[in-house]
Amino acid sequence: MFAYMIRIAVLSLRRNPVLSTLLIAAIALGVAVSTAFVTVYYVYSGNPIPTKSDRLFYVQMDSWNPDRPYARSRPEMPPEQITYRDMQGIMTSDIATYQSGMFVASLTIHPPEEEQRPYRERVRMCFADFFPMFEVPFTYGGGWGRDSDRGPEPVVVIDAATNDRLFGGGNSVGKTVRIEDRQFTVAGVLAPWRPSPRFYDTHTGASQVPEGFYMPFEFVREFEVETAGNLLIWSDYDETGGFEEFLASEAIWIQMWVQLDTAEQRQTYSDFLDAYVMEQKNLGRFGRPLNNRLLDVMEWFKDQEVVPEEATGLLVLSLLFLLVCAVNLIGILLGKFLTRAPEVGVRRALGASRASVFLQHIVECELVGVVGGLFGLGLSALFLRLINRLLDNSGQFGLDLPMISAGIGLALVAGLVAGLYPAWRICRLAPAIHLKLQ
């Protein structure tokens, strides 16, 4: 029965190809625009590490100025980053399954090929746990061991693009590259990795691409490198004291992540943080009330308002656009169906029930919806590529299976919205009138 209905629907659509093209184009356009912005919203609001986003926690401690809150508009919020000394203090704990302080630096890379000039590149300075904690995928080798954090040993992890640029691709584990004035040995080469939003550092842009290099955090001392991200400070320190004074200062510039697998672990870690801060209070630091926070990935996104307002606005506008396209279709379908009234009259007279006439026309609308939806998805993919190019974001937006389903879903809903009223009208026509006319 269903197959028959589809066959009738195809015949009906083929009878007037111009009109059918118009119908399909309208749905396609609406689906293209709305799917594109549903995708943009989905990417911004998505969970970049669904397997463990509720076990990864961002650590915050209120080490800010005793006289005033960190953010005047949100006085309850502790600072968004922590100091170097506090990172060192809490990294001594072994409660968390994995833990890593981190920041982004900009360092000079000297390619092994002599003819290539040195260049600057963003380097993530982090601890060994960064890789297993964030499930970073490797093509060759892997992260470095915890032993290499102490010392630190000159090992480095590079991404695929960097591997191509420096070594012409291939397994480069064990090869060396000069960074600043030190030779580093490649420990691992990443497989393509594009967490979106880039959850581990929302500060320097959640839409950013991960860094090309990863090296042990403690090279911060050797290179005396300052963050290429945000650094905020509320109290002066003795700048003549050199880099050590800076590291001991109240400047906040480090992001701290921990993996806590169980509720008990979380509680223990939270107690540890409290104890750490109370101890620091005794030393005359942390003049503000005790205010530690452990937010998991999605909570942290919400707190940081990672979804740009523009994405929400465009989502609303594009769905309304689809609605207008559907309303448009109502008129066209109504015209199309009503011109077919005599035919329907015959069918009804021959015993077709209202329900089957109704269903027949809904099937026809949904067929238009599905075909339009497929074209729309194609258009949508092109549209997203254009947006990617305009934003220069290395292909952040793209259609995946959930979004393709969403696009088809939108097309079906649009087809239904457009078809319900015309199908209802046509099935309620009295058959006799049209029979008489013939």
Partner: protein
Amino acid sequence: MELGPIFRALMHNPTRFWLITVEVALTLAIVVNCVAIILEQRELLTRPSGLDEPNLVVLTTRPFTDEFAEDGFIDTVREEDLRRLRALPGVRTAAAIDYLPLAGGGGLTGLAAPDDEGDGHPAPYFVVGLGAINTLGVELVAGRDHIEADLRPGDSEPENLIVTQALADRLYPDGDALGKSVVDPDTREVFGQIIGIIREMHNAWPRSSIAGLAMLRPGPVYDERELRYMVRTEPGALDAVFNQLEPTVLAVNADRIVTVRSLADYKRKYFDDEAVLVKVLTVLAILLIGVTSLGIIGLTSFSVTQRTREIGTRRALGATRSAVLRYFVIEIWVITGIGLALGAILTYALNYALAHLAGAPSIDWPLIAAGIVLLWGIGLLSALAPAFRATLVPPVVTTRSV
């Protein structure tokens, strides 16, 4: 006027009336909200920064040898860099600077007048070498530019600051900022003294509400990791000069990474999201108007076809062609009019929702009025072709096929 019959005829078959009404109302709401956002973003993109934007190029050099850390070496290199850059044909002037205006990253401190007990005001700053005012192309309206002696003040001397008028007015609302000192709002220690005021200059965050607050601090711009110069070219000479900049400084010392980018390029990158948003919304609005216009054409054509016999009867009873045309034009005018009236309400409702969800700008009535005029015109234009077709219906049609 035939409003009465037109309206009764409409109500006789209200489907088309409601469809066009709803469509026009939705379209008005969406288009006006799109345009409001576009206008707001364009205002951000195009507002004057006070800088000579089209003629500024940024040259960033990052040394990678140790000799730059040696005493005095970097000063020698910087002086030589600047001497050669300024001597290039097509270059008007050049100056050292630490961070960049319009590029989204830089220094920020708090400042207050000494007798202001409050939390102070944000003072985004740039550390600049000599000649910065001339190079940036900003206009000094009071006081003086930095001189050699300002670069290395003695221990007890305050830093000599040049601030924008907007920052000066925040610190000293009575307009007497020149020559006054400013303090750190936390420690209450003297930070510096205002020696010059520039009319207008955007800081590193031109998107923000404090874009106009900026301060120039004199300094040797001393960092062995990075030496950066702002180069101002003669009008129109930027492209010609651009490629000569890197070789010029590499000739002084080649042990560094050099990047050359126009300030306009940094600004473009900073405003990427806004620019894309403007493009996307423009496309959305145009597509929507197109779709709605097609919808009106379709519905009116259908209505003309349906009423062929009716029209023929009217013609047979003596109605002129222009009367038929007038009938359809007035009809569409009435329908879109009602749709637009509903649309005006819907526009405010959507605006309210968007303001909540997405921080959209609120809409002024002139914008809605403009939207109404536009869509009314488009509605009429869309209906014209089918209406003309109606006038071609011959009276004889009445006699056929019954």
